[in-house]
Assembly symmetry: D4
Homo-oligomer: 254 residues x 8
């Protein structure tokens, strides 16, 4: 068999085109590919919900790759250990209740689990705006290529429709802030000082629907609530992703 | 149990420090975390060889994340299908002999496999130079933090020792070029025009020890040889990584 | 009738996808949307030849928009006046033999004529490399999105096949230089001093197939030949585009 | 006949100089060369009104060149189809009521129509300020070369007088914002969320004289009114340009 | 004896790792390595207090290196002469009460004294945030590598605990501003106009605990208080550092 | 006594002016303030030789501040331990023959020693060129402010005369390269691969007068000779500085 | 006679040093070297008042060099013609009451006149702050080298004393804004729309002492007053400079 | 009389347009507005020769403004004192044979003299290329706006004709290098080391016609000849300008 460059190009274009068309309408769009976004998307997809993860960077994983201060290790507390087991992530107990994982493995295993669950990934895509019609709900996202944004070129975006949106963009809470900036009734209070224990204990309370159709998870949840900052401990993020998935599924009647 | 920020910091520092010390001396350093580097490192580690993968970016995966022209799909030909199966990567047959995978899944599964095999990852690390002693072999790498390099700050590097080095840095063939630039007897001819079929067919021939202690794989192998350019088809890369692992293992007497 | 954002997105995606697939194989790829490229592509398409114009910028028109020193006027000499007439561009006689047009009109009319003739435009696309197989002919182009290039992201390109390629990239002669840089038997001598009359008189001689499958036109033709530089007079460019179209058509047996 | 570089330079300088002098005073200055600005200027010029289009970029066409997400297609709805016909733009029906055009053709044909109607183009010109005398009307524009602005050099602008000004600068509504920033009684509310149908249905209402002598059209009209955002559908833009032309003509008593 | 690169690397890693672990908890963290920070840290360490100096730049010394307008001389007034003597800094009397030192010597001697006193230095470290638990006191600092910050990479920080923190970051008063920005009850009024005499006379009054656990010294003290600006006279800075050390020691019960 | 800003300014200006005038002619100019330059300058000044150290950065210390990979520790071998003792730098034995110092202390103590010995420092000064008269010797340096260089402003330099020049600019060997670039009979071979032991053992041989009036020391000595690269071990640098001082003193007949 | 580089350096250093020392205290500091600043300084110096002109750029002349839109011509109206005559600037009458000068000549002649009158120039000097003592008057300026500012280096400024300060920094009104920003009782209203006639007619009214010790002239005067913007007509600037000189001289009792 | 913005604009446009047209053909184009270019142009114009000075920066004066190391003083030796007198530049004798002038005055007086002599200035204009026809002489210059060049925009240049060209662009010798780069028979050897006396003594020998139609003066003359570098002493520059004027006048038969 001979290899043909044009056939390779065609294969890539056709496969992705079909997926893009298919995801012009979906159940859930999760924005941001960090730990809470990945956990949330995976658990939604496992329930058979049509879910895409939109990530502005080239790679998935967000702030997990670098561990703490470039030492590629991540700490997870007891409460979330079952999620490490669920996603097949190996760990070592450092002290009772503190488990250390390798950051690269954590990203890879979470992402692989999302793929296996059926999450569709849209990387290098920036969310520019939200679509809100007369019902006052976030009903879609206005998206563009990230490199277009970086280049400062004037190119119009496209729009995808989704029944629910999950803001998993970290402490920037970018989707929530868009709504606030354009006058929607939503206030992003911003992350407070570092206090890991409090932040971890409150994150599930803050994981909720903050605007019709928009759920927040992970650091974005704490940022909207004005909650304390978390350290490089990821249990709360994973649990928040799980909680967000439950809330969204419930909203979708699954 | 209460969470303590200092304990989290200590856990990260101690775990990574031990690993770093442990890998100051290793069997094989694979430079570059694209498909051939990942495949090579995984297969070496599976043989029980002590192997680290050094990647200058924050994330692992190299040019795979973006598929072709940001359409996140990758094509693999028949010959390499068995490696997709081996790493648990799902695919769809586009035309006979052409299999399409999702780029995000491919990266995640390859990386996860490397982790499971015992590969140690050093990301955000730039290779600045090589160590060559009186035996004329590449016996180690001079490394630094990538952000130091980006910032243009004057900070000295450290050195790690390795019996074999694999240059999997893509068409830049950065390790090979360092040796060439400093007068080592090695010529990097540079990638030729695009001709996927020829490039794929020759890559295994070019996967070899090009300087005592230095092996090349993937696009770096073709770049050193002046071979044609490959398209966004990744079978040859994976097979080249496999070949490099065999050659290195043989050299190490495993 | 109601307007639906998703339908709008789908319309754009489907229409363009079909065109992209259709142009993975074409008769002629003209690289560069300045006057000679536009004239060449238009005249080829008018003969029913399947021809695409690939332009790295967002807009078509190259150096014509700014006239001379931002004074948006263009001068055309007697010999090329018939082409102005052909493309419906209005002009004023400045002195016998010198006709002045408005640069904006000239770009718009040339581009409109190309559209009417059936030229397909691929803007914001950068040519990264050429495809050359065993026959030693330029048989295709390796392309990528321009914003990817500007952003410095690592994303692989795709490949399109074409029977003939026209380098209309101006005095950089970018396609010809790629071939030279990678060792093809082609020397780009570079533009010489300004001497409008000589440059205009010789451009048709230099408009030719300079490498199997690669034709040069406009300033690229003079740059390859080491010919003199032209001033802001565009007759020769248009005539060179016409000549290139004739040569390519002849080669294609049309 | 011989070609002379100095004659070419003189032709360009004299022709453009005469035009520049002639347009130091004009009926209408349209700021911004996107779809609504082009449509508005064309229709004004067709009525014999002396109208210039001032564009800060090198090329005319604004955000149209890139279609949606760099897929160079534009969608127009039924209501505006007659304008496509009027400007000779070809289209294909995608679904009932949705017509798809090629973005490059759309720009070229709209611009060509403007030229034929007698619109004078001033590209690479930035509007720095407005001139308002004792009558409290926008009576002129303070302009400078765009490259001077980019270079950060300290060079004073010049002033042109116009009876009416049309702000067609897109969602930045730059002329309106200048007036707001300097304390004029005009509030730019800023574009709201994406809701194509509403935005398209309201744009004609928002196309109006928002400050004595200043009309807004296209996205600038919606931005001033705090109206919803439009998607990559251009019917409303063209119709808004048409409306603006009618209002301006009426004001001028034509 | 032979030199081994790996042993050198190991020595550096192990020695620094032990120190870093040791300083995850400390008595006092002084932020900023200018004159007041150095004086404060030295005097604290001389009392046996465990004190680290955290500096974001590569070198210690802050604004002292450049003297005034790059003329590397520093002026100290009579009141602080005894501190010059204490730190072994040579000087020349310019006029009665005005002593001139060399800026390079001043930095070197102050830093050497700090080292001899047992101050531990953490350079190239940026303070990103503060840790405040339920007691409402600044109980630690959230730190990261400066080059990570410069590079704009997404890498999480680590946290160190300290009983007292000294903000010696100059007129930016960066730690105090963090607390203000996040809603802590602390107002940074900002430096007023230049009035050296008043600024010098008031600095000791402004050197105080401005928020539970946070002391300010040097220009940061004046900036928080809205006090006048000091000129390139360094007596007040040194005396303020001394005062801060006294206040902190008192608070620690030493 | 009252403080007066103008008196402070005058004190700084007059003191530095006198020094600058005094050093328009000197015995030795050491270029570069890293370990070898500092050691060399100190030992020369201790012999009563009039010596200035010219450093392009704001701070003195070169690559020492950052230790290895930002871990602020430095290793010195047995042979150079006596120099640590001489300069009062504290150290800890890591393994027999390997002594670890703190990088901040090492810079501070070396610089303080240089000050005490009478070295005059000119920081923020860039060497642009060398002065060579009819005798073919480097007889002076052409200097400018570093910020002028960074700003890209066109400001002429000044010239200082020196009997001997020491290039201590590290592996760039900047002074030596200037002479090479302008056609002086001097070849800078460039640093070879990392081989700490060989590099350390040969550095004293390479520390020599490489061009009439120009001595090289530290990494610059190895770079000129094409010698191997040193790791973050600083014994050889200090010993090379000592050797350079001996050679220069001998040349000056001291 | 032989030329000696060191003597040249010494001549430059000594001459300028003496001047700098001499101007640490002066009667008037004019900030900004545009038309009003130059006129003001010249007329003050002609009265024997000790006056320096401080300019942040390398060259004197401000916005005059570029004329209007890089066409290097300047227009002056009848009222100010006598100042052109006074400074020996040639002109041509364009229309009755409008005189056109060459911008280069205008700068050169104004600057030469200032030199002849005894104005001392300090170019490449940025004013960072003002000195205000207990009397609440601007009594001096805090200055630094402009390249230090551009380079972002941390270098402290010096201070010069002056009885009166003239803000001639154009529409930025930089000195006035510094006072406003730091809480001084002074409001900078900012320039209004373009209305040349009104702006020219009011500028003399706005030329006044706006804060104890601080006078404003030229566009800075209009900017403080919220007055209209002037076009590229310079009569008002020159007259305002003249008026400022009168007011300052009166204040000084000359 | 009322002031009208449009009349001001018209005055500027018409006056400059007439001059530009007039100088499309001239006797001499002097490129570069430093001391030698200014002296040369002035002396040519005084002989009634039609001469323009083309300067790429906004201001005239080149490297003179900054004196030496930003100390704004310039030294001139005895031989050139008569030129200071001729141009009305005041000076002070520093030592016998060394005269110090103020750099700002020197620029202003030289420029004013050039204006009075009738030199026409074209500032903000970059020379992109030279025009050489069949006679092999430099017969014109290809020019563009400097801001266009800075902005990286693609805008074509215009051409002006001149019988003689003088390269006064300093040590870059930009016009000469253009000719060398494009294959003209001219070698630019590049400036050698600093040796003021030799450089000053030889500069008149090197001031000559180095290519048919192209004369070099000032540092450009020494750079072409590979002569030594001059310090901040300007006598030779002025004398070289004078010599160049004599040679050019002779060539023109004046």
């Amino acid at each position: 068999m001979t290899l043909n460059e044009v056939t390779i190009s065609r294969a890539i274009l056709e496969e992705q085109h079909q997926t893009f068309l298919d995801y012009l309408e979906m159940d859930v769009a999760v924005v941001g590919g960090g730990p809470s976004g990945l956990a949330c998307a995976t658990l939604l997809a496992e329930k058979g919900i049509k879910c895409a993860l939109i990530e502005k960077k080239l790679s998935i994983g967000g702030g997990m790759w670098g561990g703490g201060m470039m030492f590629p290790r991540i700490v997870v507390q007891e409460e979330a250990r079952r999620l490490l087991d669920r996603f097949g992530i190996t760990y070592r107990e450092f002290e009772p209740g503190y488990y250390v994982t390798k950051s690269v493995e954590t990203v890879a295993k979470l992402t692989a689990a999302a793929c296996d669950a059926g999450v569709e990934f849209f990387n290098l895509i920036t969310v520019e705006d939200v679509m809100i019609h007369g019902d006052g709900r976030v009903g879609g996202l206005v998206i563009n290529w990230t490199p277009v944004d970086i280049s400062g070129l004037h190119v119009d975006p496209l729009t995808v429709a989704c029944t629910c949106t999950v803001d998993a963009t970290g402490h920037d809470a970018m989707v929530a802030r868009m709504i606030e900036r354009k006058g929607g009734s939503l206030q992003v209070k911003g992350e407070s000082f570092m206090w890991a224990e409090r932040a971890e204990s409150q994150i599930l309370n803050h994981t909720r629907e903050v605007f019709p159709g928009l759920f927040v998870t992970g650091m974005a949840a704490n940022a909207v609530a004005g909650e304390c900052r978390m350290g490089p401990i990821f249990g709360g993020m994973l649990l928040s992703g799980e909680r967000a998935a439950e809330l969204v599924a419930e909203r979708l009647g699954r």
